[in-house]
Symmetry: C2
Subunit: 312 residues, 2 copies
């Protein structure tokens, strides 16, 4: 089995009300791959410039992530993003976006990447996502992320991608924007009708919900005393979620398995935000993840079997 | 046993992107009392004007809610609030606030209201909340709500109230504003140090969390296909939550009981928002509440005992 992720490898500059970092390894594919590497062999398809060092690459290869399909553009610079988080750490302003080599990114998949059973299309131009999907003919589970930009300027292509994948992973507001529906339940149901069997609504610091034709499941974010850098939380979540499903290859995926996949994604994402960039997830261990999944279960369950005499 | 709530009885005008109502019974004490009436005898302490009709009062008395302490001010008009919800139904603009008789409200408690074992101080001037607390000498469980206005202009009095109650029920952003802490966990812990044993963080359409010294518990809102009027959801939640605790008089309250109380509050709040004003909760039945609590359990639980071989 193996898992291919196509998306950005980047350098990020992040400022929060408490601290700042001027340059660190980031990007959707990076955060996704590190989280997914707990579960499966991961191939990253992306593009970087001359400034991407052997040390940067080692962050991935240290976890046996295959970087063969990360194209190095000579004379180019790696995608750079800079943002500042507000006091609530849930919303942020983008200060600078330099697409650099990412602007003309054309995913080139090796035979190994094409042969993956699981494919995650991180947030890139929808027409590129479509090209990747067409090459991954062995995939038994495919998932897509996107953003408001593509919903606004490339909606038709994005809807074509959504029609072909098994799972859509978006922020709740993006799902509502995409469908024009006023509640996340009606919006997710509208997406299910387009073809996917699973819709994940990410809710930022509040957690995430999943809606399938079988039913729904809702999980809060893991409560943290301190949050240091929310960047990449959504991609870490997706990496844990999709990775868990890659390691459980029975198809179709059941809601029971999806619930546990949500818990693993939520746990890994919570580690991601505890430190800047990839610092925490880079040195995260399996037992730490399992302990947090169990803690998550303990703070979300209640006993509904206790009888009570209601007066009405 | 009995439960006293002190707070606003009002008329609301509400507009959403889909519909509008020009005048309907509302107010924090009204929504709270209707929810709490599933669990205990409820006394409402409030004030209204000549425009408060026998029909309005009957909405409460139909559920055996004691309205003896709702003062009628001759020649006065009842508190009026008007608001418009945004597309996401989670944020709103206040269009008009006419305090009317509520501006000079001085809670007057009968002996029955003073003798209540459970007291809820809905969102009113903190110095009035203090006066009420001092009169309720029999109470074994007290809870307080407030708002950003009082945090900004009457913080000292509000902190005095908080130091005296068992439970604080606020929006997460209000708790962060009040304490200056950046995460809801650190903010709630700061409040616990002031005296209360339970802090509830309401999260709007995302649900609510509770933090006690025993631990925390997080529950999503009940997912709804359609939301027609979010007004009073927080007060319905508080009514279900505090009402449940009133009906479970063992003190100190355990986190196990608090978890179930959260589920009942969440279930009743979800009915509240399905129709305008008090329409839905007025005719809500116990079996409907119980069924929704059970459904809530089924969409929030996952099995954390399944073993998985992680690669790291």
């Amino acid at each position: 089995m193996s898992l291919t992720v196509v998306g950005s490898v980047a350098f990020d500059a992040v400022a929060t009300p408490f601290a700042a970092r001027e340059r660190m390894l980031g990007g959707a594919a990076t955060h996704f791959a590190l989280a997914a590497s707990f579960f499966d062999d991961v191939h990253v398809v992306g593009v970087v410039g001359d400034d991407f060092s052997a040390e940067d690459e080692a962050v991935l290869t240290a976890h046996k992530i295959d970087t063969t399909d990360i194209e190095h553009v000579e004379g180019g610079k790696t995608f750079f993003w800079s943002g500042r988080y507000h006091d609530n750490m849930n919303s942020r302003d983008t200060l600078d976006t330099q697409l650099n080599v990412f602007e003309t990114f054309e995913p080139k998949l090796s035979e190994a990447s094409k042969a993956a059973k699981t494919v995650f299309l991180a947030n890139i131009l929808p027409s590129l996502q479509l090209q990747v999907l067409e090459q991954c003919t062995e995939a038994t589970f495919t998932a897509v992320d996107s953003m408001d930009l593509w919903i606004n300027i490339a909606k038709e292509d994005l809807l074509k991608v959504i029609a072909k994948v098994d799972c859509v992973i978006l922020n709740d507001e993006e799902i509502e924007l995409l469908t024009g529906e006023p509640t996340i339940v009606s919006a997710a149901q509208a997406l299910l009708e387009l073809g996917p069997s699973i819709v994940i609504a990410k809710q930022g610091k509040y957690g995430a919900g999943v809606i399938t034709k079988e039913g729904s499941f809702w999980l809060p974010a893991f409560p943290l005393n301190e949050v240091h850098d929310p960047t990449g939380a959504g991609d870490s979540f997706a990496g844990g979620f999709v990775g868990y499903l890659a390691a459980h290859p029975e198809r179709p995926v059941t809601l029971e398995v999806v619930r546990r996949a949500m818990a693993y994604g939520t746990a890994i994402a919570s580690f991601n935000v505890e430190e800047f960039g990839t610092d925490r997830v880079s040195r995260l261990t399996g037992p730490e993840v399992v302990a947090r999944v169990q803690h998550l279960a303990s703070i979300t369950q209640f006993d509904d079997t206790t009888q009570i005499d209601l007066r009405r």
